[in-house]
């Protein structure tokens, strides 16, 4: 557990020293979101319809962009060996890296999304729902993205294939996340959707660390 906290706090402190790094991810999130009206056109009714999809899509993208190098940097400079040789479970190390990633991207993304929702003309209750679903859904993205990152590390074709399989695992989260906002218009139960998102996050939490650890051990060979 000390190791887990050490790794987590190392990654976080690195970010804390350079708050600009988080700001860049957020700025990117805003820019990417703004592109959709430019592609689709400014009609307010259509924009409000697709807002949830757009914001979830760009959130996924922001996660992917920053996850890409989650383990690759450690692999290339030799620090991965040190992680593999640390006298505590590698699963925890993988988890710590994903957790740090979520804290510096998922969390601020969820906080920022409602602001962008305003520009898409979403009503206040939809803004709340958006923030809530992102808060619960982004950990899953960090975990699955982390898995894809570890699989493509040193990988031959097999790893690539697995990563290709890992990505569609994000689909349920995206669908339920984006659909949750619609429930407000159709009068369905928002809480049910949130419960499903939470369940997906728990499944990811229970399975991905083992898979990540196995993939990292492979990469160390």
């Amino acid at each position: 557990m000390t190791g887990f906290l050490a790794l987590l706090s190392r990654d976080l402190r690195l970010v804390w020293r350079r708050p600009g790094d988080v700001a860049v991810v957020l700025a990117f999130f805003v820019v990417a979101t703004v592109l959709f009206p430019l592609g689709i056109g400014p009609q307010a009714n259509i924009l409000a319809r697709i807002a949830a999809g757009v914001l979830w899509c760009t959130a996924l993208f922001a996660s992917m962009l920053s996850l890409d190098r989650l383990f690759a940097a450690d692999y290339e400079d030799g620090s991965l060996d040190l992680l593999l040789l640390a006298p505590w479970p590698l699963e925890l190390a993988a988890l710590a890296k994903c957790a740090a990633h979520w804290i510096v991207t998922g969390l601020p993304l969820a906080a920022l999304a409602p602001l962008l929702g305003v520009a898409f003309g979403l009503p206040p209750d939809a803004l709340m729902a958006l923030a809530a679903t992102l808060l619960i859904g982004t950990p899953t993205l960090s975990l699955i993205g982390g898995l894809a990152a570890s699989l493509t590390l040193g990988a031959r074709r097999g790893g690539a294939l697995l990563a290709l399989l890992a990505l569609p695992l994000c689909v349920p989260t995206l669908i339920f996340g984006a659909a949750a906002i619609e429930t407000l218009m159709t009068g369905e139960d928002l809480l049910a959707h949130i419960a499903i998102l939470a369940a997906l996050a728990l499944v990811a939490l229970a399975t991905t660390p083992w898979a990540m650890a196995a993939a990292l051990r492979q990469a160390g060979e």
């Binding site: 860049v24 700025a27 056109g41």
Partner: protein, 239 residues
């Protein structure tokens, strides 16, 4: 040992700015005093927009200056890359956040104005959208110049970006205008330039002049800060 070659140029700049700063400050304060008097008390409320029209006296000058600011960044970038002018890097570092702030003020006053005028804080109007993109260009410049451990590299990378960006600005503006006419949002009031009444033009020009002075003032002061900071860093490294 402090790097004398490096500081020779900025030292001259500092002597110059020390001389002009008091007068510039005075002129800025005076400009705003007169401008605000004209804008807030002298000029009549708009027959259509009422008192909210007064937002314009802040909104329009900041729009102009944020656009001019990016041109300045490009000019500074060119003088850094072509003539290796060390002061240009420091001044670009100082000017970028100021320009970004003016863009932000334009966006903020615009959306505050939009609330009574259009009933929404934001609409995807062409002018609004291209101002937003200009703001993003500023953000990229600021982020890039600070993304390196070695500040010189950040300065030069940002200079290249500013040059490419300034070539792109007209293209972006043109395409956003065209995009907007393609999708005429019929229900919304268009942001066409109203035939500006002289009673409004006068205070507007005063305010624009004062904003320009403020812009120059802020850039000069911030450049001095940058010089100090760089000098401290060098002293730190040589310690």
């Amino acid at each position: 040992m402090a790097d004398l070659h490096f500081l020779a140029n900025p030292a001259r700049f500092r002597r110059f700015s020390q001389r002009v700063l008091p007068g510039l400050t005075f002129a800025t304060v005076l400009g705003f005093a007169v401008g605000l008097y004209l804008a807030l008390l002298q000029s009549p409320p708009d027959y259509q927009q009422g008192e909210t029209v007064r937002i314009m006296f802040v909104h329009v000058p900041s729009a102009w200056l944020s656009m001019a600011g990016y041109a300045l960044l490009a000019a500074l970038g060119a003088s850094l890359l072509v003539w290796r002018h060390p002061l240009a890097a420091l001044m670009a570092r100082a000017a970028a956040p100021v320009g970004a702030c003016f863009a932000l003020v334009c966006l903020a006053t615009g959306s505050l104005w939009g609330r009574p005028m259009w009933g929404a804080y934001w609409v995807w109007d062409a002018r609004l959208t291209s101002m937003l993109l200009l703001f993003f260009l500023y953000l990229g410049h600021i982020a890039l110049s600070r993304a390196y451990d070695d500040p010189d590299r950040g300065d030069r990378a940002a200079a290249i970006l500013a040059l490419v960006g300034v070539i792109n600005l007209p293209i972006i503006k043109f395409s956003v205008d065209w995009w907007n006419t393609l999708h005429q949002p019929a229900s919304l009031m268009r942001l066409d330039a109203p035939a500006i009444h002289p009673a409004i033009l006068m205070p507007l020009l005063w305010m624009a002049g004062s904003f320009l002075l403020l812009f120059i003032l802020l850039v000069l002061v911030r450049t001095e800060t940058e010089i100090d900071r760089r000098r401290l860093e060098i002293a730190d490294q040589n310690a």
